[in-house]
């Protein structure tokens, strides 16, 4: 369902990356591991359609996203891909609920019930009407996961979700991500330098 071929991306002559091909079947999760500066974030951005590759193809669920226009790419991403950032980002003038509603609006998947479902499954339903700034670090991370999965994406991309966490929390977060992914029928691709995650994934690629 996810297939990349001969992906290349060049920022400049000093920073040019070529990535190994990825092939991932339905319901398979993937860990992409690599040390800093090797192009992990670049790969994630390529997969998310935030960057466009110089050469090669990315086929997501039958769609070659390297052939989409900027506009189509934005739409495709909004509907099929959820991203969990290393640091949680929100629109700070909106509450948690409004942030989720914005995501639904932009992904064209408005569904009030789903927001409550997700928030309660992540145990932060009571923070619904709070400003994301006022949440604790853990709550922020969970709210960020909620943002990523609110539109029932087929693919969840997570960028270093555990790098700043201790072992205990690291375990908790990755389990939560996997649980949410399977619960909502999404594939999970985690990109990290964190070797602690290896044991949680059957399939991994080293950059």
């Amino acid at each position: 369902m996810i297939q990349t071929k001969k992906l290349n991306f060049k920022y400049n002559d000093q920073a040019a990356f070529s990535f190994p091909d990825i092939k991932l079947g339905k319901n398979e999760n993937l860990l992409i591991i690599g040390s800093s500066g090797i192009g992990k974030t670049t790969l994630l951005h390529l997969l998310a359609g935030l960057l466009q590759s110089d050469s090669g193809s990315i086929n997501l669920y039958g769609q070659d996203i390297s052939k989409l226009t900027q506009y189509e790419l934005d739409r495709f991403r909004g509907q099929n891909i959820g991203i969990v950032f290393q640091k949680p980002h929100f629109v700070n003038s909106l509450t948690v609920k409004e942030n989720l509603q914005l995501a639904q609006y932009l992904g064209n998947k408005v569904n009030q019930g789903r927001i409550d479902d997700i928030l309660s499954s992540l145990n932060i339903l009571d923070k619904k009407n709070k400003n994301p700034k006022k949440l604790s670090q853990g709550e922020k991370q969970r709210a960020c996961i909620a943002m990523a999965i609110v539109n029932s994406p087929k693919l969840i991309l997570a960028d270093e979700p555990t790098s700043s966490l201790d072992d205990e929390n690291c375990d908790r977060v990755i389990k939560l991500l996997k649980k949410q992914a399977s619960e909502f029928n999404a594939q999970l691709v985690v990109i990290t330098h964190d070797n602690r995650l290896k044991k949680h994934f059957k399939k991994s690629i080293k950059l």
Binding site: T41, A48, A103
Partner: protein, 411 residues
């Protein structure tokens, strides 16, 4: 901050526009049908302000005889005598002819016109404000200010109330010239005990005799009352010409050849407007400058907030917003700000008009009220929208060309 500046600028301009238009319409409204005003020598502007707008003191009185000569000139179409002398609680009592009511299209709402001396008809503003009704008796004060000596022995009787006409007559108490003459005759009489009323008459006769023997004969046929008027005075006379062409020549003739003064209201008023026009213009430019500064300030605010919200913008993009959607969001944000600013500015100006109007009403018995939106103000709306648009273009382009990947990787 930028919004406050915008509100301030819009408010000032709109206030100036409103006041300008209100004063102009009010002035023009009262100018209808008056080509020329004749009165005593003095400042022409003062003559106009006192006789047409009833806000300044009159330049003095002129003799009835002299006025008559002008009236009989073939160039004069119609004329209306005005006579001042008294006020009731600061409102002027004008002795005049019935034509005065027609001039302002004033209709009797209740009661009738005056038939006898000391009967008055009261303007709408006054009877509503002071709660005057038919058959009330008013004690007038001498002069045009409330503080004048009271004529407590002679009472004006209210016989009619006027409908609102939105002109100066709303602020006037109208009566016949005889009322004022009689009142002041008696008044003088009271003061000078030695003088006898009849004696005075005889004295007048003598003078007349010396002047003209042929007329003397006619005088004898006249009623005693009529005769009285010949040596009486009036304050001013409103004149309408037979042909508009006379406006150039006739006033000059009067000013040069008689001891009267003629002034053309339309000319004096445009002179007055030129005088304050300079101030209004300067203020208007200043206000436009403020609006432009507000535009800059808005731009800088948006620009800075875009830098602060870069991550938010990138996030919104990753959530599936297109570049255009996001740029439009920035433009709309700015448009909403400036449009809201425009309406608040308009509100501020209306409060200003109300304030100025209440001031003018108190000090000049003059009122301005109309809250319609002027065409010029629609231009201000266009200007606000334009400023909102222009100041948001660069931030919107910034967002449009935002490199999401770089922004997100940059954290």
């Amino acid at each position: 901050m930028s919004l406050a500046l915008l509100i301030f600028g819009i408010g000032i301009i709109s206030l100036l526009l409103q006041l300008n238009s209100l004063i102009k319409t009010q002035m023009d409204n009262n100018l209808k049908g008056i080509d020329m005003v004749v009165g005593a020598k003095g400042s022409p502007l003062q003559l106009i302000l006192s006789a047409v707008y009833h806000i300044d003191s009159p330049t003095g009185n002129i003799s009835f005889e002299d006025a008559k000569k002008i009236k009989n000139n073939r160039m004069v179409g119609s004329s209306i005598d005005l006579l001042y002398g008294d006020n009731y609680k600061g409102y002027r009592i004008v002795g005049t002819e019935e034509k005065f009511l027609e001039l302002y299209n004033a209709k009797i709402k209740e009661g009738r016109k005056w038939n006898n001396p000391l009967e008055v008809v009261v303007g709408s503003k006054i009877h509503t404000k002071l709660n005057i009704s038919i058959d009330d008796e008013l004690i007038s004060s001498h002069g045009l200010r409330e503080t004048g000596e009271q004529h407590s022995d002679q009472l004006f009787k209210v016989v009619g109330l006027l409908e609102p006409s939105n002109s100066v007559i709303d602020q006037l108490i109208v009566t016949s010239p005889e009322s004022i003459w009689d009142l002041h005759d008696d008044h003088d009489h009271d003061k000078e005990h030695e003088h006898d009323h009849d004696k005075e008459h005889e004295h007048d006769h003598d003078e007349e005799d010396e002047h003209d023997h042929d007329e003397e004969h006619e005088h004898d046929h006249d009623e005693e009352h009529e005769h009285d008027h010949d040596d009486k005075e009036i304050t001013a006379m409103l004149i309408k010409f037979k042909s508009p062409m006379n406006i150039i020549q006739f006033p000059r003739q009067i000013n040069e050849n008689t001891n009267l003064q003629a002034a053309v209201p339309s000319y004096e008023i445009s002179r007055l407007f030129k005088l304050f026009g300079f101030g209004i213009e300067t203020l208007t430019y200043l206000a436009y400058l403020i609006i432009i500064v507000s535009g800059f300030s808005l731009f800088i605010n948006l620009f800075n907030s875009m830098r602060e919200r870069k991550y938010e913008m990138a996030l919104i993009r990753t959530l599936g917003s297109s570049r255009r959607q996001l740029s439009m969001m920035i433009i709309f944000e700015s448009l909403i700000l400036t449009t809201v600013g425009f309406f608040i500015g308009l509100l501020v100006s209306r409060l200003g008009v109300m304030f100025v109007s209440s001031l003018m009403e108190e000090s000049l018995n003059y009122n301005l009220n109309s809250f319609g939106i002027l065409n010029e103000e629609l231009w201000l709306l266009v200007l606000s929208i334009f400023i909102g648009l222009v100041s948001s273009i660069i931030p919107a382009l910034q967002v449009y060309n935002l490199n999401i990947s770089e922004t997100l990787a940059d954290e």
